[in-house]
Amino acid sequence: MISSMPLLEARGISKGFFGNPVLKGISISLQPGRVHALLGENGAGKSTLINLLSGALQPDGGEIAVDGKAVSRFNPGAARAAGVAVVQQELSLASELSIAENVGLGAYPRRFGLVDYKALAEQVKTVCDMVGLTEALDTPVGDLSLGRRQMVEIAKALFLKPRVLILDEPTSSLSAHEAGILSALILKLRDQGIALLYISHRLNEVRALCSHVTVLKDGVVTADQPLAGVDAEGLVKLMVGRDPGDLFPTWEAVLPGEERISVTGLSAGMVRDIDFSARAGEIVGIGGLVGQGQEDFLLGLYGALPGSVKTARLCERDGLFSDVGAANAAGLAYVPADRKKEGLVLPHSIATNLLMPSLGKLTKNGFRDRGAEKNTVLQLASRLMIKGDTGRPVQALSGGNQQKVALAKWLPLDPSVLLLNDPTRGVDIETKREIYLMLRGFAAEGKLVILLSSDTPELVHLCDRVLVFRDGRTVAALQRAEITEEAIVGAAMGLTSREAA
């Protein structure tokens, strides 16, 4: 294929947040009439790249070029002027406005300062026909199913008559029929000379639609090549594989003890109809691409998200927990992924945060027992190796130490089940090592650890078994010997385990 002038290019761009580099000098070039796939694991830097290409973020180094010419300040306005439209994963719709009013939002045709509804109807009808939206244009978006709303979102991007169209996981909530329409549309747009960037975790879609692929891993490009001739396993191999070094402890599986959790038919939030059981002394990994229902699964077990089950036995108790307090009393503890928003009370002191779950326990005659509290805090601080004054606000600590506080605050309750939601996200290497040691230690003590992780090597090196989630269901249950990065990523991407193996 002869490559023509690229419509939009990133040239050696870098971007970091708070000193953590996310993209390290990567280049990508979107050509007219080509569907370009962007692949990568969780946290590889895909979202950051999309934000840079749409002007929502500015690069720290390198440049963005439109039609071969570098643009000095590529902000959202410049992106719009260059004809870049993005279909984001989260919807940008207003549910009480009609389809037409949503599609045209931000780019309404006007007459005498008012929205020209006649012109709007005609223009919206054109793009709705393209995406196969047959609903009346006056339908409020709130009346549509999630899949139909996604199609409205795509129509909204097309309404801008883009030259470059970026689609971030556009099919995640679409039915097979809708996905088929979208595929045909993408090929048609390609033939009209539009440059498309397609991000998806459905490898078979990628292979059917795209002719070129860029693979990101840890912020660098590991492949930038035509897709022809690369098979699915080859793609998975390009995304995974990092030398873990001595990051992970060596451990022996302990003999699983009594059953701590056993649920059948659990549905909560995104999660649909899951059967699951786990025993004391296990670390059960939960993997999959971000947002496939893993978090809702943990929250459902924890009583923080209302759900339903056929049968449930949690820590010798029947049924789901009605609230978090009941779950804590039964011996469950939960460490959330977003420690700043959900795990810690940032302006409060380290000591206050460490004592939060055990306040009711450390009392004497109904009053707080200062002595017992002090001892508890001292013990935890020494166990965590947090030096200095525990009266400092917890926000003064590094990310790693904050995470240790969010985890350690549960220890005074001596929980028998730990539900951990991505406990090492944004944590430095040294703290990661400590956390891994702690986790295996918990298992050795006979606790049950359920470890949700977006970091695949963690699942491989720490877990006794791994469940992989996709679209709110478990698509693979891997035993110790079967756990490899390829198997996890392959299952997450929708390959059958046979293909990935």
């Binding site: 929502a56 959202p76 719009r80 984001q88 989260e90 919807l91 940008s92 719709l93 207003a94 549910s95 009480e96 406005l97 009609s98 037409a100 009013e101 949503n102 939002l105 931000g106 780019a107 309404y108 006007r110 300062g113 008012l114 929205v115 509804y117 006649k118 709007l120 109807a121 005609e122 009808k125 047959t134 609903e135 009346a136 244009l137 006056d138 339908t139 409020p140 909204k156 209302p306």
Partner: protein, 321 residues
Amino acid sequence: MTTRSISSSGLYRAIQSRRNRGLGGLYIVVVAFLLLYVWLFPGIVSIGGFSKFTQNWFPLALVTMAQALLMLNGGITLSVGPLVSLGAVIAATSMGGFAGTWGGIAAVAAIGLGIGAITGIIVAHLRLPAIIVTLAGSFIITGIALLILPRPGGFIPGWFSDLLAGNTPVAFCLLLVAIAGWKLFMATPAGLGMYAAGENPVGAFRSGVSVERVKVAAFAISGLLAALAGLFVAAQTGSGDPLIGNPFTLNSIAAAVLGGVGFLGGKGTMRGAICGSLLLSVMINVMFFLGFPPVAQYVAQGLIIVGAVAIPELTAQRRKK
């Protein structure tokens, strides 16, 4: 399957009629209460009776619009009542003096717009909760009204009172003008953007809506409407009273909630809110005719707010179980 039976030129009308259909239940309740009222007080079906009735409704309708506008944009205001008082006080002190009637009207409008815009700037640009900012604002505005006119008094030209609150349905016509103005605004890109930003500010921002500017505009228009309601109240009573607006704060929220406007933004419609204000106005009148003392309306308002929020919430909770 719903096909596109409507021609493309009818899109605007189709959207409007669909919104009306969604409010069918509310319309029926409002009509039922109106019929009850006509039955209790047949005098309403005369020019004079209709005029008086709409004059009682008019200020409530205006403050409800002022409130609903902000609630639809994801905010709320607790300074509606004090702004009504301030509008009344400014009208009563300026019209007889240097400014004249028209100057007084302009002064009320300018102050309402200005105070609304300042509040909006604080809320939007400093990212502070609207409910607390407007609570503090309500104290300041009340204070200003008390400084301008410490006790009821002032002067409103007789012809002006007669024009607005006489035996002609001028107030009703003005309400129609206000509603037409709102419909016009909601047909502009800014109006639709304001609505979209109420429910999904991030999405609206990504779609190119200037979310902060829209919010400041919403507060400014809201302030204008509340101050004009004060102007009308001053004309109605023939004088200014620095505390006359106080009941309007809760009234405006009650009417908006009764009309289906939600606390979380982007939920509900202005026509629903206006129906809510009509319903509340009729309820107060009916209670009056049934012999309840005037203060009973306070009891009713408290119950209406809690009920209007509670009933949907309870049904939703029951459905979940």
